[in-house]
Amino acid sequence: MNASVRIGARSLLAHRRRLFGTVLSIVLGVAFLTGTMVLGDTLRANFDTLFADANAGTDAVVRSARVLDAPDVPGGIRAPLDESLTERLRTAPGVSAAEPSVQGAGQLIGADGKPVGGQGPPTLAGNWIDDPKLNPYRLAEGRAPAAPGEAVVNRGAAKAGGLEVGDSTVLRTPDPVRITVVGIATFGADADGMGPSTFTALTLADAQAHLTPKGSGQVSTVRLRSDSLSQRQLVDEVQKLLPDGVEALTGADATAQSTADVSGRFLSLFTTLLLVFAGVALLVATFTIHNTFAIVTAQRTRENALLRALGASRRQVLGTTLGEALAIGVLASALGLLGGFGVAAGLKALFAAIGFTLPTGGTVVHAATVLLPLLTGTLVAAASALVPALRAARTAPLAALRDTAVDASAQGRSAAVRKAVGALVLLGGLPAVVVGATRGPSLALTVGGALALLAGTVVLGPVAAVLAVRVLGAPLPRLRGVTGALARRNAARNPGRTAATATALMVGVAVVTLFTVFGASVKATLDDTVSRSFAGDLAVTAPATGAGGSGVSPKLAPAVAALPEVGTAVGLGRGAARIDGHGARLGVADPVALARVTDLGRVDGSLADLGTDGLAVSRPEAEAHGWRLGSTVQLQFTDTTAAFTVRALYAGGGVAGDYLISRPAWEPHRVQDADTLVVVALRPGVTVDQGKAAIGRIAAAYGSPQVQTRAEYAESSASGVDTMLSVVYALLALAVLIALLGIANTLTLAVHERTRELGLLRAVGQTRAQLRAVVRWESVLVAAFGTTGGLLLGALLGWALTRASDGAGTGSFALPLGRLAVVALVGPAAGVLAGLRPAARAAKLDVLRAVAGG
């Protein structure tokens, strides 16, 4: 065996306990990365399979070519087709079957009166397709719908809603439709449904009545199959017969597009988010690993010097140290890879726990998913060890005759350079962050500045550590006497080491703080929006997240308005159009009534004059596009493009959104009509409770949407933020855990290094308890330093991110002092935990051996 390799392997085995923390850090980081990628792969494959199954017997899909990219609808909103096209296609050459398909949103209500699903996965409704090859669903029980009001539901939805054949319930489309379940269907041969989505199938006439704009004669798509032609030939054949604005694509292409729509929007966002947190965990791990190698190498100075004296070249010493790191990296990454499968399952469970169900299915792993984390983990280990290895290679042979080197990172010439470089980077980063946040605002500049700030903090760390330990530790000697004084001096004696250890925690805490501040600000903005613009007493909504739910019936608002307790009730509908090349959301309402129950701020022009070709625009949006009162704006709908005139301008940032048009103006272009919100103002003298009760009785007939007071509405608008924050905290917990491991590891190494000194202290009468306390307090000091730095950095960056991402300048900034105080307390408390094992090891020292040992 090669000498360098053997030396490396031997020292690896000899120091395995010391390297345990390093290995664990890499294992955790790599496991997170792998878990994220495995989850991404699995979801992508599952979606692919789902869409492929859904189109299994379909050779071609005919659909409108007019599509609007809507911000929250995967694949966009497509115009309907004329039903008569189906008949023409049936007789086309090569076509064996052609079936009309109507698809829309339909929220099924379970036997208990509660919505089935709706938190993430789509809640779909459509027609039952008679041709079994074109219909991906199979009847498991009962029969197909034949009469009005009859429906088939998928088995998963039936189970979740407690529905059986013969039961009666309501389908919100969003108008409540009374249905009787006549059949229960499986997706394909035996799946409960198309992933976790729900599907309610009606007769074609019912589906058209409730899910298409005109209520009859329209279909969403026509599905074709051919026994004689290939998919491509069929499409070519059919294409000749299609009118303008209608397109045909192969079943395979339709599958690919659906998968891409979901992957492109939901999945990439989802996996990118997770990868960011895996990145944070790995960054924290890098600090921890680097620190361990730096300490272990310093402790091995004499060994390396001896090797150099005996004729080992610099390259051999470098190779030995790097080889050791590489071996650890490969080993730990391999372990992390295995752990990653567990993490993938855990992440799935985490999202399920907050009500966000992901499609289930076998775990899928691509080669890249194995290679990338393996490579990343190994590289992180090697890169972390590079500087210590170079330092080891530079060891002077004569160092073999001296005792271990002193840490000079806070003094001398290199410290001066360090101070200068750190200050320079910090001074460059700070203005960039501030300017990026306030002028512009520019997200790129802010992020660049934030990275510079982080780098500057890392470089200045050792200098700051001395100061911080002095300040934070100031009360210790008074509180804990000589024990406290020793802890404080120990924490300050290797500033480079203390700083590197604390930096790992600092990064973790900074990211936690950043999200806490940003989340609180988003919440404050939402709160502010509601309290500023919501002038009504009650709100009616149908809460749902992701692609689920179907909104509130547009018929509810007039019914509520007719109540004697109610003064004004206005439904706010959601329309979509392409404006200036971008998909935009339109508020659809009676503008004058809306102005009575919401505060639109100062209104220029007249809301009463919108008519069918007028548009009201929020002032910031109008400024961004350069519109004034009287400007003409082209609105491209799914059916036509129409010219609208800007007739009113109002303050932005409210519940009304950026664009308002009247109901008559929207009517010709609507797809499936739904209100997102009904705002209610009660008559004078009617209490909120009385109003709530009265509206609740009416709402029961409309599928029981939620009736909320103003405060409840504000609360529920912001509840998504809290859910998101809990997920973020759970994801960041790993990074913080790695940082704490780093503290524990550094202290264990320090205890090992100070064996003689500790023995001396014990010999002159220090009790085991006192010795433990010294180590524990040192741990607390390091953790306090990291936490303080993280809080400051995170709060600053949180402020910058809030400002930089608020283009309109209407957002609020909030510093959640309570939550931050919790972070400030948890950090040092975790330091106590991290100090437990090193303290126990120090206390176990044998006094005589410690003093005599060489």
Partner: protein
């Protein structure tokens, strides 16, 4: 007789300004080949520095040093490393062995670093002489201090270097263990004509040498051939007396 190693007008200074220390002050010394040379002197006389510089562990501030025909002053780190690996053997006062390697691996370490195959016969003979045949698979921590130093001597001799430099090899040992180590060095000189240079402050250790060089204040002040412990002790007392008088004046 040619010198195994020599220095000419060697100067070594540490530090700068006020704290500058002149450890070697223009000393010229020859270490004879196939002989056992001891270097003695009081603390701070520059004896260790002299040996470190002659052995390529440290570089001179002025003057020149040779190992055989090779001049050290012009060599870079790479050449010096190869020189140490192939032509020099070391025995330090303490910490001679890598704690993670076995006794046998420690002995062949310089050879392994160069990728050279050890001369089996020579190695076996060496191990036999050192008397650690049954301890080859042990770790250094399982050996006594004397045994550890004997392993270090075996390691220094394993590559048949031009010179073995020993820096207080018996400094940490009791007299019996020390005697064993010195006996090993002596017999290497006698049997295989190994050149050995040893720094020591112990007159009894110096008595094993063929020649004793006395250093004081970075200069060569005396030389004794075929020393005995008594003669060395007398010279040391004489030197101390001179220094004492010089200090009194």
């Amino acid at each position: 007789m040619t010198a195994a190693a020599r220095v000419e007008e060697a100067v070594k200074e540490y530090g700068a300004g006020e704290t500058r220390v002149r450890a070697l002050d223009g000393v010229s010394v020859e270490f004879a080949a196939a002989r056992f040379t001891a270097v003695m002197g009081p603390s701070g006389s520059g004896k260790s520095t002299l040996v470190h510089c002659a052995a390529g562990l440290d570089t001179l501030s002025g003057g020149r040093a040779w190992l055989g025909e090779t001049e050290l002053s012009g060599l870079g780190d790479r050449e010096l490393t190869l020189l140490r690996r192939e032509r020099i053997g070391f025995v330090f006062q303490a910490f001679n062995l890598l704690p993670t390697l076995t006794v046998r691996e420690n002995i062949t370490l310089p050879l392994d670093l160069g990728g050279a195959a050890p001369d089996r016969e020579w190695l076996d003979a060496l191990i036999d002489v050192v008397g650690l045949g049954d301890r080859l698979q042990h770790r250094p921590s399982q050996l006594s201090g004397g045994q550890q130093q004997r392993v270090a001597v075996a390691r220094a001799l394993a590559g048949r270097p031009a010179v073995v430099f020993a820096d207080e090899p018996t400094g940490n040992l009791d007299s019996r263990s020390g005697g064993e180590v010195l006996g090993l060095l002596r017999s290497a000189v006698d049997t295989v004509r190994q050149s050995v240079v040893m720094v020591t402050h112990d007159p009894a250790a110096a008595a094993y040498a063929d020649t004793v060089l006395f250093l004081a204040d970075g200069r060569l002040v005396d030389t004794v051939q075929q020393p005995t412990a008594e003669r060395v002790l007398d010279r040391m007392k004489a030197l101390d007396g001179r220094r004492g008088k010089a200090a009194a004046r």
